[in-house]
Symmetry: C2
């Protein structure tokens, strides 16, 4: 039983890339990456997603500003905006559904579309890395999601879930240590005690990692960093935004 | 510029597996697969997911029943239940947050956790397939999500997003044609006309595909199949369920 191969090595090497060389991504590379994305599983074949390849420099600069001034959005040759998309489905099914109720606006279908686009995007990330390209996911496009949506012309029932910088990496890729396997993997039943207990060891690992990276000035454990994050009232507009776009009506 | 490699070939080969050989998945295989899942990107390193490996035969049978009698859930050696998990975060951050507000219950954090678990699961799917194992995603566990959650002992702020059958494939894997690339890939701006227009050609492809697969008895195009799906009031309990679990409070 062989437990190693090229693909596993690739997955293990993954790290976010935030510096890119000034080299374009070719049309052929982009097509191969998006075609790989399309091969991901999709709930009942709904394919409820779209992806916008932003290559226009002025548009990238605007998006970078809206996402919290993340310079790598401007710097990367292609900025992919991954969108959950129930608009296409609603439009193409209309002729079949005259007079019938339809439920594209349910919370369930929001989840279906969100999962569909995430699975496709992760395949794209793996495909890109297999071609020696690098990526970083950008949740920051949800900071000012209304402006981002307007800028990209997103209709009702489409929302931008995250961006993804794509390009040729400049410099080495960093990897942060992950939670112990036992913290995320449960057997036959959720083990609430174990998952919390495992964080103690991880807090030590992350504290040491921070100390090394900051030359001793910061040794915050993971749980303290997470506390700071949870205490921030981040993107509290999301619920109203999604409703305004026609999602989660029921 | 090389546009092909082992990983791209693997991604292109993907198809859902619904028949499994009576061969166990080893502990080593499971660990490698979940470790690969953990290497996926995660929003600000929150790692807001858990996965429950169900190997108990009686439990698999119960879950199969709750998910709409999908026999492969019982047949596969390991049924993975992928959960969005903000419980662990809330518990480990509590000591740091005495008296402070915290926002784990926001719609934004529901989305963060849902994306986190989907990215991890897709890495697991790719890792499994690289080891010649097969998978199928099971959205059906949301049919009776309250019972599934109770059966697996899921606490507040944890919800089962989807299941995943894992095992050694028996027989060939089918692939359904996907939307044309131009239907999902937009340039610099969402193209509402093009995405709808592209479905016409796809409707022909899917209609022919159905006709061949059913020996001529069914030639429903994709848009008609999707219409039937959207017209079904599927899982309308999701909104109340998620709120009851402590999500989407704001």
């Amino acid at each position: 039983m062989k437990l190693n191969n090229e693909t596993l090595q690739l997955l293990k090497r993954h790290g976010s890339v935030r510096q890119f060389q000034d080299i374009p991504v070719s049309e052929e590379q982009l097509a191969v990456i998006i075609e790989a994305a399309q091969m991901a599983s999709t709930s009942s074949n709904v394919q409820a997603y779209s992806v916008i390849a932003v290559t226009n420099q002025a548009l990238k600069a605007e998006l970078a500003g809206l996402a919290g001034n993340q310079a790598y959005i401007e710097q990367c040759p292609v900025f992919l905006v991954w969108c959950a998309d129930l608009y296409r489905l609603r439009e193409v099914t209309k002729p079949h559904l005259e007079g019938c109720a339809s439920y594209e606006d349910s919370t369930e279908n929001l989840i279906v579309a969100t999962v569909d686009v995430a699975l496709a995007a992760q395949n794209a990330a793996v495909a890109a890395e297999s071609l020696d390209l690098g990526i970083v996911y950008i949740g920051g496009i949800r900071n000012r999601i209304t402006e981002v949506s307007e800028l990209l012309g997103l209709p009702e029932l489409v929302y931008p879930l995250f961006g993804m910088c794509l390009g040729h990496p400049a410099g080495a890729v960093g990897q942060r240590p992950r939670l112990p396997l036992q913290a995320v993997l449960h057997r036959n039943r959720y083990d609430a005690e174990a998952t919390v207990e495992q964080v103690k060891a991880y807090d030590e690992v992350t504290s040491n990692y921070m100390r090394e990276r900051t030359g001793g000035t910061n040794a915050a454990p993971w749980s303290a960093i997470m506390a700071k994050r949870l205490a921030e009232p981040t993107r509290l507009h999301m619920k109203d935004f999604l409703r305004g776009k026609g999602f989660m009506k029921q």
